[in-house]
């Protein structure tokens, strides 16, 4: 295992310490349980938008803590949902009286741990709502299964709802907005290589030099299918077609296109893939009005990309454009 670490057991704690040192003006870090909180929290009368999950997806979620996005982030161990007490601590640290909205990626662990925390916080008298993000079209959706995973769409939900909270929307409105965004966002990802979890010490799956995984998640879980490595054109088509056809996105739609690096895919390739996706969407008459290109929801040092499409309307466009000041997103 090739990593710049001291000890697999302390990676998350040491990394959070470095993050706190790097962004004193934006955030503070609580340890035991670990929580990343806006430097100025609680922000009076502003709904606290909180998210979290296993570590290893940076900048998600800690990199999105700040004005216009998250009030707090709850980082678990690498690829492991945080425990309810940590989520509870985040709720307490950011409690402004306006309530908290938990943005939860749809994984059994995240759902159960955040659910428990929300129950506990309700007992304390805080109004807490949860919204589950499940945008991954690679996973068949069914009430008999765990359902779709939450992936790239999560970043967009956090930005948009964070903007709504900042403009003063109340908890009901924030919750409604979050559900609306979840209903309009779809994603799919692929990988060329596997990530290596520090405490495991070997790659999460084995992939031959000429293979790729299509329909991959962000936790090193294998994808839906292992197929021969093909051209960028073909890769983008294999991600984009199911995304477009799922909602479906149609001729004349205005969209936000989010081209995400899974971690180790260089920007050179990422922009290349983004250009292809823009071309293919144009061919379908789908109009890309906003873009996000970069490593925003990653899987340690995994090589690969994901594509996320969000159907825009005037309100969502305005919320997207609203100022944001976090370590990873800023305008």
């Amino acid at each position: 295992m090739k990593k710049i670490i001291n000890d697999p057991a302390t990676v998350v704690a040491e990394s959070l310490r470095g993050m706190a040192a790097a962004h004193p003006e934006l955030l503070r870090v609580r340890t035991d349980p670990a929580v990343v909180v806006r430097a100025d929290a609680p922000v009076r009368d502003e709904v606290a938008v909180i998210s979290g999950g296993g570590s290893g997806h940076e900048p998600l979620h800690g990199g999105f803590v700040g004005p216009g996005m998250l009030a707090a982030a709850v980082p678990g161990a690498v690829f492991t949902s945080p425990t309810p007490d940590a989520v509870q601590a985040a709720i307490q640290e950011t409690d402004s009286g306006a309530g908290a909205l938990l943005v939860v990626k749809n994984y059994t662990g995240d759902v159960l741990n955040f659910e428990t925390a929300a129950e506990l916080a309700a007992v304390d008298g805080t109004d807490v709502r949860s919204v589950i993000v499940d945008d991954d079209v690679a996973v068949k959706d069914s009430t008999h299964t765990a359902g779709r995973r939450g992936v790239g769409g999560t970043v967009l939900v956090e930005k948009l709802v964070g903007a709504a909270a900042q403009r003063g929307d109340d908890l009901d409105a924030c919750e409604r907005l979050a559900r609306r965004v979840v209903g309009r966002v779809r994603s799919m990802g692929m990988a060329l290589t596997a990530p290596t979890v520090p405490h495991v010490g070997e790659p999460s799956f084995d992939l031959a030099e000429d293979e790729m995984e299509i329909g991959i998640g962000i936790h090193g879980e294998p994808g839906r299918a292992r197929v021969p490595l093909t051209s960028a054109d073909e890769i983008v088509r294999r991600l984009l077609d199911p995304v477009v056809e799922d909602l479906p996105f149609a001729d004349g739609d205005d969209v936000l296109l989010f081209t995400n690096s899974m971690g180790a895919t260089p920007l050179l390739e990422l922009y290349l893939a983004h250009g292809i996706a823009e071309r293919m969407l144009a061919e379908r008459g789908i109009r890309v009005r906003r873009r996000l290109v970069g490593p925003y929801i990653t899987s340690l040092e995994m090589q690969g990309i994901s594509l996320t499409l969000l159907k825009l309307d005037d309100e969502l466009t305005e919320l997207w454009d609203a100022p944001v000041r976090t370590a990873a997103l800023r305008w």
Partner: protein, 212 residues
Amino acid sequence: MGCTAHDVIVALRSAAAVVAEHRDELIRLDRAIGDADHGENMDRGFRAVVAKVDTAAPETPGAVLKLTATVLISTVGGASGPLYGTAFLRAAAAVSDVTELDGPTVAKALRAGMEGVIARGRAATGDKTMVDALAPAVEAAKSAAEAGEGPAKVLSVAADAAHQGAQATEPLVARKGRASYLGERSAGHIDPGARSTALILSAIAETARSRQ
């Protein structure tokens, strides 16, 4: 003849030792169809349980189980944390404040634990989860208790049934948890949570046997 709080603590220590010993195996199982953390999660959690029961010294079996539940919930994380936590919490409620567990109480506690897992995780048998180890264990325990067996025997048939149940998850296609994302590709691997359930039950049964 029954299990005291001290017996339960010894059994949990032994469970922690077995989980530590099988940490890498559980990681390997989870690597195949999940995210390779189940062994790490369980090991972290049971280490914390051992540390906590040592200092807190709870006085009834129910108190030990409840403490175990809270420690697991706040240290394991992932899917298994809340599920195992709920299982121990419900088991604690089921044994109430009795000071020694007899066969029927052990069987009842096991059933309550399973029901808690199902209530939280909504998995049915055959979904390739820890429920596939728990369900046959609960049935076997019930029969043994009804046949008048003591806690050691009840636990030992439960553990055996859990092992068979875990083994039987191998050909299944997962419908719950992270393995469900793989669809058909999840077949051909034992479910890590079912395996850890069987391992923990064995360790507890083994302790009960040696102390009876």
